[in-house]
Symmetry: C2
Subunit: 294 residues, 2 copies
């Protein structure tokens, strides 16, 4: 389907995308660039990329599809560095967890060429970083949200849909604002809470003993607290208004539970837990999937 993938950022997300595209026969050649030359070299040694590029611009030269897999805060500078080689026939995508800031960065950096850029958020990841963990299966079965704007070229949007679908993803579209508001609730706030819980435990003198007693519930609840600090710093800053708004909703719900505990109101506490428990027991990953783009 594509001749050459220009991969900017050869970490877990970018490397997994390259491997998946190659395995699915969607690209013939991958030219990769990472800020750290040793990462780029390692990616080539591992067969994640075919050719090392010494700059982002050179990774894009000759590419008909480009994936940016860099921390969201680096999006604008990266797009500026490559804009001279972007044409209306190039498909450019990112994999960032926030979309309003990425869309703004793309407008600022690409200007009249912004139509080639299709903002993408594949809902997949790991609590490990680095090209060593790149996995051709990472995106298999994942949901991918595209957040095109009115300037996005229809042809590129269709190619983006086709590409992610060919990787086994369920592809949906929504506006960048709606995307960020929703992910504040179901992803960014949970990360913030998990960071806060681990921080609170670490700040206690007997942290090690507490951790020794933690069981499977703790393991799953805090798994996302091991996320990459630079990535999550950028996400929480980029989407801070929505995350803080969701924090207030959370604080109100927590306060109700705590009031019931303080008052010894077993009936209210039971009712509040039942609401949460029923909702969670009914939910299954993928069950409520959005209508997929056709």
């Amino acid at each position: 389907m594509f001749e050459q993938l220009g991969l900017i950022g050869c970490g877990l997300m970018g490397g997994s995308f390259a491997l998946a595209c190659k395995r699915a026969g969607l690209v013939k050649r991958v030219v990769g660039y990472s800020k750290s030359p040793s990462t780029t070299e390692r990616a080539r040694q591992l067969g994640v990329i075919d050719v090392e590029a010494p700059s982002a611009l050179l990774a894009v030269a000759g590419a008909d599809v480009v994936l940016l897999a860099v921390p969201v805060a680096a999006t604008e500078a990266t797009l500026k560095a490559i804009r001279h080689l972007v044409t209306p026939t190039t498909l450019i995508m990112d994999v960032g967890s926030t979309k309003q800031d990425v869309v703004q960065a793309a407008r600022d950096a690409l200007r009249e060429r912004v139509g080639s850029f299709v903002p993408a958020h594949p809902i997949a990841g790991r609590e490990v970083a680095g090209v060593e963990h790149a996995d051709a299966q990472l995106y298999q079965g994942a949901q991918v949200i595209l957040t095109p704007t009115e300037r996005t070229l229809t042809a590129q949007l269709q190619r983006a849909r086709a590409l992610w679908s060919a990787l086994g993803c369920r592809v949906s579209s929504m506006a960048p604002e709606a995307h960020d508001a929703a992910f504040a609730a179901v992803s960014h706030l949970p990360h913030l809470l998990a960071f806060a819980l681990m921080g609170a435990i670490q700040s206690q003198p007997d942290a090690e003993r507490l951790l020794a007693l933690a069981g499977p519930g703790f393991r799953d609840f805090t798994r996302i607290a091991a996320g990459d600090p630079a990535l999550w710093r950028d996400v929480l800053l980029a989407n801070r208004e929505q995350v803080l708004a969701q924090s207030q909703q959370f604080a109100a719900a927590l306060d109700m539970l705590q009031q019931a505990m303080r008052a010894g109101d077993g009936q209210l506490l039971h009712d509040l837990i039942t609401l949460a428990s029923t909702a969670r027991a009914r939910w299954r990953l993928g069950d409520y999937a959005l209508p997929t783009d056709s």
Copy 2:
């Protein structure tokens, strides 16, 4: 090792214990009782118990080991109902997630016979309830905390250790107060937070769309929110002082993160996330295990 297990409460925890004991050849016969006769009948049909008892007292008749697997709030009434058949040669244990209230209930209910009671907390569970889900493997590899008091008979404590060890558990001991303080941090508070997050999402008009976008991180973070409402109501009420104290530690850590977000202080935010992320990445279930009782 034992002739007869008297099982009071034939749900997930009790049923799994009975199955595990039978599989390991630790008991010859299981006599079971549940508040709901249909549960008791179902437990017998499923082979979880051998004989149905019409009352808790009759489940204890002839038993040399008794397991209480009822909501913690029912502990005192249950122990009162069986106390006439408790002798110094009977081993009685519970499986509750809180221990100070259980120890107090045992003192009040069993009085001079309290020495036979060994409070136990196996750190295992599921987000499903009921004897249908009973699983002989549930306790395999789990940590079990015993919280004996100064009145606990040494002989019964040793039998309790031997029994759980024979089921493949790592057995440790600690004081009831220390137990409850620690589990407030690593179990009860995480449950409270997960209930609050699900409650906050459910209270929003677009809850269904939000849930449709939730991914694997959300799945793991909220898994414990599906816990049994009656069980968790009892735990949160029984241990509310410690849970509210841990909530304050959590609130302070969350507030620091939110202040860094509001101030746009990327460095502070990065540092705070790194603290949490490093601690979580280093932690592995069972790695920090407490010294096991010998």
